[in-house]
Symmetry: C2
DNA sequence: CATTGATGCATGATCGATTGTGCAATAAAC
DNA sequence: GTTTATTGCACAATCGATCATGCATCAATG
């Protein structure tokens, strides 16, 4: 069945050198295109494929294979650079060992740290992590999820997904559990930052450091529709309420996260205002980029003049100097929570874990 | 062969409600754990698995399947949320469509931009991209490469790899071509920044903007052993030579990339020096973090006092203000070069493409 | 010497999708 | 009416690894 036929031809002496060249090429091609399989190793070791498989995947003890044969097979595997064919293995075992994650972007510290930590922990848990970024494109989110399903992922983590519940509905019929990270969903467990508490603390901090000024605070960035922004605005409001200040609608610029949008929104605000705001709550480092740019353009350095609080962390932003405070979402703890849910199994009910960020 | 047996049992009426509950559970479990296969769809459509396969993978025209049957099969597939089993498909076709990439880290703009662009372009080229970060761990680099081989990647891109040639040697016997990105290798084609030209230009720029001072320039960050650092030092030297200055060994602090190392090396330097350097060439944003920290600690703001050139780009670093110039490695062009090599096929000889970075 | 048990391995079915081959049924050509 | 061509599909082998089953061989026991 698995015999690889080999035609041996008798050639006249004249052709010997040609033959040699051919054999070298074949050897090269063989090694270059044909991967060694357990059948090849079985033939070389004079044993069966099943035995080779047992030796290489570690349960040869159970199958009572002799130490001697096991060693021989392992040596041959090393010599020939044997690599397991995961597709075949997965197909048979019906378990891929793959855990998937979709993230919106890599290009800020929060998400890149999530991706990096996810890979590390997944590997430590014995999974093969596949991370893919969906460019904040809802369409691509679904396509990516579908593709991950095709690759038989055992778990799918939806990070900052536009519509995590739709992804859940895609995965559920295939028996693939999902988890939400950063943004919560209703149909699967979620691990998110404690946005309210973080925003509340951060706001108190900047209010305490704020200079006296008629023009009060400003909230910049994020989308009113998204859960995180709502919670942060609530924290922002309540921290003000605590010292007897009511935040009005015009103090909230939920203009989206993109830096250009934040810059534009802030510039518009500054044009109408008599005085710059005393404090600003900026909803992400991405938005902060826009805020800083806008301040530059309006000849307002960060230094001392305006106290900024940013819900997110970036090392260089921190070095910007001036009165800038950042809360750092606790990625390590969030990811630990995530993997503890995964370890518990999907039996449990739907939970939402809120991890406090650190100032 | 592929019949899924279904035992139908006649139960006394008493048990009817129990049965109902059972059926609901079974339905749930069935839908939750068993994925729909082409055999399931074939049975539902009253046709054969081969036909279903042909319909779903698009070559049903070639196989002369009627429009009517094709539509029926497609509808059934949609209804039942059918997802292709890639493992089975790959196993049979002996082509996975997977393209792999290893990167050292995600947490700086350069590498995260590379990862992001890679994913986008790979998808556009019809591949399924798998990116994994190896934490600058040479051991993990090899392990990751081996795992990628097991998953039957068709191509492997080694980004900033410690020893790309070793990875090549791992992949070659399996017939998997490799490409090097960012750091060159000898055994496969490479796409890298034109480090010499970039460094030369950047150095000229900071020299032109430099204040007159006895203490000249400093080169901070990177490893003497790595190709990029060598080339940048060469550019740094030559730009000085052009205006008649010879760079001495003590002006080169190739202390590694890590920010702490850069901070420590610079602080040590500043302790011994009578005066701070007029200009500094910093070898990456990571190192720049350390440099800025060290300057802070030594009460030297960036403002006007020291002209800094950084070989790498970060939006916030750019906003730091003061005399700081950054060259941005041209990721888009580099990745285009990479994929054009991939499209050409691996027939061609080993080439090294140097892409000029932009100031 | 016959029976039991342990040891060491081979055999073959199986996972799901793909694809070359072949065989009916109908249509077209002579 | 017979031959040829075309349409429309079913069948079965195959990819590589896994694992339940089974069959020799040899030692131990009665």
């Amino acid at each position: 069945m698995h015999n690889r036929l080999c035609y041996i031809v008798q050639l006249p002496i004249k052709c010997q050198c040609l033959l040699e060249t051919f054999m070298r090429m074949r050897a090269l091609t063989d090694q270059n295109t044909k991967k060694t399989t357990i059948y090849d190793l079985a033939q070389l070791a004079g044993t069966s494929a099943g035995t080779v498989s047992a030796v290489l995947n570690g349960n040869w003890k159970k199958r009572r294979i002799s130490e001697k044969l096991a060693t021989k097979v392992r040596n041959l595997a090393d010599e020939h650079g044997y690599a397991l064919n995961m597709q075949a293995s997965t197909l048979r075992k019906e378990k891929s060992g793959i855990i998937g994650m979709v993230v919106p972007m890599y290009d800020n510290r929060y998400f890149s740290s999530i991706a990096q930590t996810f890979e590390r922990m997944a590997r430590a848990a014995g999974y093969f992590p596949i991370v893919t970024c969906t460019q904040r494109d809802p369409e691509l989110e679904l396509t990516a999820a579908r593709t991950m399903l095709a690759y038989q992922v055992e778990y799918l983590i939806c990070t900052g997904a536009t519509d995590p519940d739709k992804i859940h509905d895609l995965c559920a019929p295939a028996g693939v559990p999902t988890l939400n990270l950063d943004l919560p969903g209703k149909k699967a467990s979620s691990v998110i930052s404690d946005n309210y508490a973080g925003a509340f603390k951060l706001t108190k901090k900047i209010l305490a450091a704020a200079p006296e000024r008629s023009q009060g605070s400003l909230f910049v960035g994020g989308r009113e529709a998204d859960h995180n922004t709502q919670e942060r605005i609530r924290g922002f409001r309540d921290a003000h309420a605590e010292i007897g200040i009511t935040v009005t609608e015009d103090q909230i610029l939920a203009c989206g996260y993109a830096s250009q949008k934040a810059a534009a929104a802030l510039s518009r605000f500054l044009k109408d205002a008599a005085e710059p705001p005393a404090t600003m709550f900026v909803n992400s480092t991405i938005s902060l980029e826009g805020v800083v740019t806008s301040l530059r353009e309006n000849d307002l350095a960060t230094q001392d003049k305006i106290v900024i609080g940013c819900f997110d962390w970036d090392p260089f932003a921190e070095l910007l100097g001036g009165n800038i405070f950042m809360v750092r979402q606790d990625v390590e703890t969030m990811m630990n929570a995530l993997f503890s849910i995964i370890r518990e199994g999907s039996e449990a009910e739907i939970v939402t874990i809120e991890v406090p960020p650190v100032l």
